[in-house]
């Protein structure tokens, strides 16, 4: 039976790699079972690049350890092997080698990716040096919808000309977009899968996300943090369109807005 079990363990790297390759190639029945279309800018593509880089690196280790594992099981099966047991307690040299190499690789990954992290979460785009780009809109998560408040014509959130929408976000294409996100009740997470953007929204805090959208179309806004029984239906959409269309849409939304009945408190 040793032969059988060794082969079973050999199937782990073989089927594992096959499963990933199948998904990446999009063969039946796994079409679109891979990273969703990336419509983001350089940072979003850098995230995919890192994902693939780590996939390659870990893939090599996965296959190598899997093959070694199989080979040892196959070769030293008690039912088959004629060699006497190798009686020894380890090797100092090997321990040093297989500590230093992974340590170096892991440190490399850690340092290598820091700039991507900084670009996506720390270095907010600027209009001119020292002047942060203002938010295009303020997005407030609440059970179970996304309330969106556009800065309007004056570009400032919290003024009279703000435009209010629910679950309907419009974005200009090929521009640095900054959004102010916050929560009105519990935790939510603002997740734009096609832009590789995710940020939890926390009551009592306000945060900024930024990105560029590079392809027109309509995409999902997903809530990625449990926010109650209706978490699954907290779905928004965002529409990427060129600047002129965006301005026109905003203007029209402003015209249609029924302002007399309510006035929301100003955003922070």
């Amino acid at each position: 039976m040793g032969r059988f079990w060794s082969l079973l363990f050999l199937m782990v790297p073989i089927l594992g790699v096959l499963c990933f390759v199948w998904a990446m190639a999009g063969f039946w029945p796994m079409q679109n079972h891979w990273l969703p279309e990336n419509i983001g800018g350089a940072d979003a593509h850098a995230i995919d690049g890192l994902f693939l880089f780590i996939l390659g690196l870990t893939g090599v280790i996965f296959v190598a350890t899997g093959l070694v594992f199989f080979w040892f099981l196959w070769k030293y099966d008690a039912a088959v092997t004629t060699e006497p047991v190798k009686y020894f307690h380890g090797s100092h040299q090997l321990e040093v080698i297989w500590s230093i190499i992974p340590a170096a690789a892991l440190l490399f990954i850690a340092i290598f990716q820091m700039s991507v992290w900084a670009n996506t979460k720390i270095k907010r785009p600027e209009l001119s040096p020292g002047v942060a780009r203002p938010a295009l809109a303020e997005i407030t998560g609440r059970q179970f919808e996304w309330r969106i408040r556009y800065a309007g014509k004056d570009g400032i959130i919290g003024t009279e000309d703000d435009v209010f929408k629910v679950n309907d976000l419009h974005l200009p294409i090929n521009e640095d977009v900054v959004l102010l996100i916050k929560s009105q009740d519990v935790l939510h997470s603002f997740f734009l899968p096609h832009l590789r953007v995710k940020q939890d929204v926390v009551p009592g805090m306000q945060q900024f996300v930024w990105f560029q959208a590079k392809r027109p179309g309509t995409y999902d806004i997903v809530c990625a943090e449990l926010c109650g029984w209706g978490h699954y239906k907290m779905r928004g959409r965002f529409v990427v369109q060129n600047r002129a269309e965006f301005d026109k849409w905003l203007e029209q939304a402003w015209q249609e807005q029924e302002v007399s009945s309510f006035a929301l408190p100003a955003g922070e």
């Binding site: 995230i47 307690h89 380890g90 321990e95 340590a103 990716q113 935790l187 009551p203 029984w229």
Partner: protein
Amino acid sequence: MSTTAIQPHGSHGHSGSHGMGVGEFVRTYVFSLDHKIIGLQFLFSTLLWFLVGGLLALGIRWQLAYPWHDMPVIGRMLFSAEGGQISPEFYTTLFTMHATVMIFFVIIPILAGAFGNYLIPLMIGADDMAFPTLNMLSYWFMWPAFFFIGMSFLWPPYGAGGGWTSYPPLSVVWDAAPGSHWPQTLWLLGVTCVGISSMLGSVNYMTTIIQMRAPGLTMFRLPLTIWAMFITAILQAFALPVLTAAGFMQLTDRTLGTGFFLPEGLVVNNSLPATGGGQPILWQHLFWFYSHPAVYIMILPAMGMVSDIIACFARKPIFGYKPMVYSISGIAGLGFIVWGHHMFVSGMNPFLGMTFMVSTMMIALPSAVKVFNWLGTIWGGKIQFTTPMLFALSFVSMFIIGGLSGIFMAATPVDIFIHDTYFIVAHFHYVLFAGTAMAVFGSIYFWFPKMFGRMMDESLGKVHFFLTFLFLNGTFFTMHILGAVGFPRRLADPYDYETFRHLLPMNQFMTWCAIGMVATQVIFAFNFIRSIFFGQIVGRNPWGANSLEWMAPSPPGHGNFDFQPIVYRGPYEYGSPEVDTDFYPQTQPPPADPAKRYKDPHH
């Protein structure tokens, strides 16, 4: 293979079962001070909870494969009120209670409670724990926990619904979620009682291992199982107070309006405005300060037991004993400074994310060292593919996957995309189910003869292994693929999103694998129960192993050993040229003739 005469039942000590009075029965089997009985009590309780957790998981899987369809059989058993359909409220309680049961009522107590209790005194040659009464209490504190969690299933929507991570404000504000009423309060009380139980256990384990080792059993002659239990106990002792405190803070937030975790003026679902002054993220820091070390509480003992099983069935010394000990310690030490990797996108200062990223990357290193040493151990051995060995080998094979997926998530920019998706779910099921749970199965098959004096059936064991291995990979490997699409966890109906609609068939495949996996456990249950009564009777040392527990009778009587064990060497001397057998028990004196003694060429 056994060296000593077969002793099916503890021949010495007192009481046979005949003529036992009620009082004596209660003292022997219910409020027992004997570490072995307590260990078995933990084992039986946790196995029952394992069944509950498994059925809850099928509820989750059913909803993901056939959203809003009546769930056959189990649906009516679990929630007859809804007529078998899973409501979104109930879905939140399904995944909350599944994780809670599996983590706090199965994995943690089965490792430390069942195996820790059963094995520690036996493997160190002691007659019992240092504090038997404390030990009994550690089991009996599980009962209030069982009670509270059991009660939480009684109020609609039949269980807490804030996730096993119980993040405020959802878990704090009374009306924020359906499960935020009584079930959430009971959840907190239940988890706190589990914490107290572990705390009592860990103090006992540390003292016992330090104080009660048999003569000659130095720290570096301890089996790796004991090393792992020792380090785990330290982790528990240092991390648990934080969870307990945090739990009480959440409890007072809920009941007394303290507001540790609520910002000022917060209104959820028309609740009264919170007095506030608190921070929701504070809970996450406190929770993960415990729960990241806890994930190692949930795997280190498994690693220890796997090491013992692998050395035994490779018939070869463990490769790199000391590096193994150091890497266990390294994992434990680093385990305290990586908790922030659960919070990369939580709103925590992004600069902190960078430091947590580096420490998290580094914790993969001792994990890798352990894998290499297991590979080194099977190299050049004579491998016996017994059932316990198959489970132990699968631990290694599967832990490689879980460890490697950890690197993706440790990379902060990548984690932005995969956080809270099925990639995470894949990761922790590879380490916890494919890793720890498989190691637990292997350990049950391995130590069963010691516990009951009888063998479990090997053929049934192998069928159990084969099917579980197949189905678990079918269920969990595919989750990586879902994660790559960004498929979020904890959604009652993810197919509302266009991005994920086409993933339904894949989910149906996974659900059927999961059903197969749970069904396969019937084979295990049958084998386990049947073998207790009808299994083949064995002697003290059926596997030809070295460590001390195999020198005691099977099952050991009260007081464990019928002789005073004296230890001459470490537990991994398989294939030693000093003796003619391929094993060399720790208690066997070295050859009298110095010329026959083995000289290590390196010294």
